[in-house]
Symmetry: C2
Subunit: 763 residues, 2 copies
């Protein structure tokens, strides 16, 4: 088989074969490698001169083995029965023995060969795998191995909403809700309307409304419906939210009994499709500056709704382009030339047969990045007259004498109070976003479990979920999605139970969680897309729609960046109030002193404690989060104060501190999320679920600490040894959580027909 | 006007009006605030009992001012001529004087009022703006103020390719290239084919080919064309790249003269549309594992191309679903039952009239997240027979005796050498990605310059580009896009000038820059989308397409995560070779010692040097980048060695270190990018351009250091004071660069019809 004369003459030369094969296998020999080999050959006194020549020739690219010869070497070597794994020189020795039992290989030869291998940077033992069939490694053998009962986990997640969730899932699993590919916008919009009508018919639209409007008076259920529908098509969810949430709730919360009686039933049944017309082209975030006017005419007892300039047109209004018949329009109320700030009015857009009302002009927003099943439009009003009773008058009204009346004296404050009642949107959206993340993670994790690529030399290919970087891409988001699940459940409950004095805190919490959750969704779906490679790019695998439909979640219901600034401002105010009537100077000094000295964790031992038990400890996590929250808040306050003291305009000072303020908001939200996750873990009774959740909670905490490590190091709260140990712990937790990954996504219990991605189908 | 009896009786009470108005303006009074006010009132001995009662009543929500009264207060206060800005008590005093010149306000009253304001947390001076018209701030007044000649900058960017760039821009500005909305996939695919044909007709397709194929023999120009076309539709670019780059170059670089003569002319003219069929369903990243077979039949002198199992079908193949007539197919060559590894063959798919060749089955990949103008397909081969001469035989051939011949003995190495010749794809793609980023940034920055939202109390709204956070979103990417421009120009030149011994280094550089640039594009376009708010979500504003079309850039031409691992492995190998035949142990020790001691910057003074001149110094930047690159590389090498020494399988060890290895690659690429940017700055002769570029280079450097600050702090290379100072410097640079932002995007000189977004149109 090996025709080389030299090998036949002196079978002892076979000892070089595995090494030579390995050297030629993957790369051209470098001059260094050749000289290293020359040294080795020179040292072998048992070689004859022709043998040395032959061996040297075989290192020369022009005289080295041709492809066929190289293959024959490999076959020869593989013919040796390798029970155990050996180094290259031992495989070579076995080859020699195979030729001639009696040849003795001196120990010094082995030593010389091993030294050469080392100098060449070869891992002799590893290289041996090339010649062995099968190569098991820890990475190969790692796999799914769930530690809890999936159904029990679903129960933990669903809580008291389990029945309603099942009911909604049953509906969206019906064949009429099967996904379709749409040829054009009108087709897609009609399908989504049809789906909304189906949902309305089954009573889901009116769920939060009073019983006389065929509702269940169940706001909590409304959020559950939004969240569960979000496993299905997101255009449907947004259309649903526009109709029953924005349009319906604005009438419900801003109107009085007469409006409820007049409209809610038809809104809930979708007999009366409507819009929520707040945003204007010129004013999106700064809604206080809306310019549409509603001028009161006391002789006629009417309001005239008017768009005074093109920038004041209503824009991106859902349901406006095609289906909407009425709209809640936000406009500045003008009485006798006096501006009473922004108020809400019910304004007709179209008749029942779809004809536009006189004075209303509507343009279609056209194709969008996503949510193309929602017909967004632009609305212009040209002196549209509505009756006096169509002012939504819960917070302000025009009395019989044509005078303005309101329990809230400041126009600003009245407007923000009105907006406050609509904070539900900032709960529904993050909950919808979270469902989209859960679907994306389910798809990406199932794919990563099935998809195999690369593997150890001579071994089988490995599921990509066994790769550490792939785990790092998907496990922290999986942990965070659990964390957010509990945080959003908490937010919802706070909102439902709210007392007046908590309103501002809850608004800030909703704003912050909305921003944090929707950014999380954008980032997670991006990661899922990339983690699924080319398959993730095909529309059939659904990440396309999930990503594009949710992309605007970071913008609507309040631009995330603006919301985070609002949260920070709320925190600064709370901070001030917490200290009652202490002078602001005193507060700053007090807080700073406290931050500097009273935090027990910041002692020389703790800052470099890398003990695993300590790093995994809930107490350590929460303390670190709370410390960050407080310290950033107080430093932001100090910084603002310093700038202002130095004569800077407060608007400029706030601008200079914007980045700092964003961190104030983020640290606050992260603390709340961790706190609620820890609480949920502690309240879980099933042991299997509890310990799986605990691990996820640890991963969320440590991953977040790792993300913020720059700040902790700057503060001296941790030293480098500790942040490095945290990184290692995160890697280890990812490796561990990976075993539960499939089960943790299965516990979301997303209907298979909603997941729908071919790459994620269960075999 | 103010009907209150008390005010009429004692005009001195007017002094409270501005304070009262301010308190009621934005919030409900808290108990603390009320008690603070009570204390203030109590101290005013000049007040009568009824006056005190009246003042206290006006703090009570049920007796406080109604909306109309509040408005009348404001009008009253605004009637005062406020030339300078005053505190609230001084405005109050002016009101008193307006009523009665003779009333004296004692200094003690001012003092008491100011104390109360302070205790209430009011910024008296700021509150005064409510009553003043106009309020100028630094934030308001900041604006565009370019410091260089835009045209000169375009010349710096275009370099010696300026003429070709102009030529391509002229073509894509032609009305036949106007963007269209497509009703369906076939329509879009035909338009893109048509555009490609137009380009081919004008000679752009054959640009890199020899003259006999109607080419210009200009590879550099080919990249310029790809990059410039990327300002237009990206489906067009990818279709163009598939035809002339992948299909054309594979024939050019893997075939021999006979193939060039036979095919190149028809490829360049697009008479012969073709595919590059490498990826299989089962093997994307791990292409070494491809399973398609090409079995040689010496009696017939043919190869039989076959898909042995469904996972071996070719997938995502561009041009395959509809237009491709031939394909370069990568398949394992089998001769006499012996596997000679993956080689390339020209295989027919369709006849000229579009009929599928017998044995070829093609499925359409259908709708994708983006690039829907490219017809990707799946190909199955059922024993398709091709003549012997259609094996692309530059690196391997079957000789007249039916024997395999190749100058490269190892199958693996031969395959990777073949792949190496195709590295051009990893240059074209990041350059295309960068163009898309430039377009996105142009749109977002123009929008941010025009869009105004919020402003100081009583002042005008401010362009959102004046907000610090908005600058932080857009200025670092702008700086990075310039940085990458020069880095990719450098990569291209290295590739064009490459010598054989540099091949691996250049392949690693291309892989790393491909990953780094395409991730940058994904992140940047996401930021641009969000920065444009709802407008960014409308398809007409183009970020939709830019984002969705480029999303797969992180996956194709090599998955970014896998590429970064390859780069890291290359770095480890280079690291080994750099030290010649030093023993690996010795190298690790040497490097560690060097990293620990010889870096002069790591001295106690430098680690906390926050001097601005130092922070902006090019030398400091590059040293810090080089230090990081070397230290991470050596620690990764040490870590791998340690694991292996402890008996860990090398496959497992590499897996454990994946995250670390990704940082090795990133640190390497960032150093190269900075180095090339600094070089480009130094080589710029025009002073205006040079200083603008210098500032961008400083921003790129400091932003990157800030991003990596966790690592620098862990290493003790910097202390917290220094990383904080860097953050501040980044903010300041963003603020400064903002002035040049419009000009810096105008210097990209993207044709207006390609930008096309209504929000970005010049007025």
């Amino acid at each position: 088989m090996l025709h080389s004369e030299e090998l036949q003459k002196n079978p002892k030369l076979y000892i070089f074969l595995p090494l030579y094969y390995t050297l030629w296998m993957d790369s051209v020999l470098t001059p260094t490698e050749i000289s290293e080999m020359q040294k080795l050959i020179d040292r072998q006194l048992w070689l004859s001169k022709p043998e040395k020549m032959w061996l040297l020739d075989k290192l020369d690219p022009s005289k080295g083995p041709d492809p066929k010869e190289l293959k024959s070497w490999k076959k020869k070597i593989k013919s040796i029965e390798l029970n155990h794994l050996h180094g290259l020189s031992h495989i070579g020795a076995a080859l020699v023995k195979q030729q001639d039992e009696d040849i003795i290989i001196e120990e010094s030869i082995h030593r010389d060969l091993q030294e050469a291998e080392e100098a060449l940077g070869l891992l002799s033992r590893e290289a041996g795998y090339t010649f062995k069939s099968g190569h098991q490694t820890i990475t190969t053998e790692h796999n799914e191995d769930r530690s809890f009962n999936t159904q029990k986990m679903t129960e933990v997640l669903d809580g008291d909403q389990a029945n309603l969730i099942k009911k909604v899932k049953a509906v969206i699993s019906d064949p009429t809700f099967a996904y379709r590919e749409f040829d054009n916008l009108p087709d897609q919009r009609e399908q989504v309307l049809q789906w909304c009508q189906d949902l309305a018919k089954q009573g889901f639209g009116a769920w939060a409304f009073p019983e006389y409007a065929k509702g269940k008076n169940d706001m909590k259920g409304y959020f559950t419906i939004m969240e569960t529908l979000s496993y299905h098509d997101l255009s449907l969810v947004i259309k649903f939210g526009v109709q029953f949430g924005l349009w319906g709730m604005s009438v419900y919360f801003l109107g009085s009994e007469k409006h409820h009686q007049k409209y809610l039933k038809d809104i809930g049944s979708l007999k009366l499709p409507g819009c929520f017309a707040m945003t204007e082209t010129g004013h999106g975030s700064n809604v206080r500056g809306l310019e549409t006017t509603a001028t009161y005419d006391h002789t006629q007892k009417t309001f005239t709704i008017h768009t005074p300039n093109p920038d004041a047109r209503k824009e991106y209004i859902g349901n406006a382009a095609v289906h909407g018949q009425k709209a809640t329009v936000f406009a500045k109320l003008i009485i006798d030339g006096e501006d009473y700030g922004v108020n809400a009015f019910v304004v007709p857009l179209r008749s029942e047969d779809g004809k536009l009302v006189e004075g209303v002009r509507i343009e279609d927003c056209g194709r969008k990045m996503g949510l193309n099943g929602v017909d967004n439009g632009v609305i212009y009003f040209d002196n549209v007259i509505i009756p006096k009773e169509d002012m939504l008058d819960k917070f302000a009204a025009v009395n019989g004498q044509g005078e303005f009346e309101s329990p809230i004296n400041s126009d600003n404050r009245r407007f923000f109070t009105m907006l406050g009642t609509l904070v539900g949107g900032r709960i529904g959206i993050p909950r919808s976003a979270l469902s989209a993340s859960k679907t994306g993670l389910t798809i990406a994790i199932r794919h990563a479990e099935k998809r195999k690529q690369f593997g150890p030399e001579g071994g089988e290919e490995v599921p990509i979920l066994n790769y550490r970087l792939h785990q790092r891409r998907l496990m922290p988001p999986l942990a965070t999605s659990y964390a957010l699940h509990f945080a959003l459940r908490y937010l919802t409950q706070r909102f439902l139970d709210r007392k007046e004095e908590e309103a501002q805190e809850i608004e800030a919490l909703a704003a912050g969680l909305k921003a944090y959750s929707t950014w999380f969704t954008t980032a997670t779906l991006q990661e899922c897309r990339e983690a699924c490679g080319g398959k993730g790019y095909l529309s059939e695998n659904r990440i396309d729609d999930l990503k594009n439909d949710t992309d605007v979640y970071t913008t609507f219901e309040g631009d995330n960046v603006v919301l985070m600034q609002l949260v920070a401002k709320n925190r600064l105010t709370e901070f001030k109030q917490e200290f009652g009537n202490m002078n602001m100077f005193t507060i700053f000094n007090f807080i700073t002193a406290q931050a500097k000295t009273s935090i027990v964790e910041k002692n020389p031992i703790t800052v470099r404690n890398t003990d695993s038990a300590h790093l995994l400890d809930f107490g350590f996590h929460l303390n670190a989060f709370v410390y960050r929250e407080k310290a950033i808040l107080s430093s932001a306050a100090q910084r603002l104060k310093k700038h202002i003291d130095e004569g800077m305009d407060s608007f400029d000072a706030t601008n200079v501190a914007q980045h700092h303020l964003q961190n104030v908001a983020q640290a606050y939200i992260e603390r709340v999320v961790l706190e609620q996750f820890q609480k949920a873990v502690e309240e879980t009774t099933d042991e299997g679920c509890k310990s799986a959740l605990k691990q996820l909670c640890q991963l969320y905490a440590l991953f977040t600490l790792e993300k913020n490590r720059g700040w902790y190091l700057e503060q001296g709260y941790m030293e480098g040894v500790k942040t490095k140990a945290i990184r290692k712990e995160v890697n280890q937790l990812c490796w561990e959580v990976r075993k539960n990954a499939m089960a943790l996504t299965n516990a979301f219990d997303i209907p298979e027909n909603c997941i729908a991605a071919p790459i994620a189908m269960k075999d």
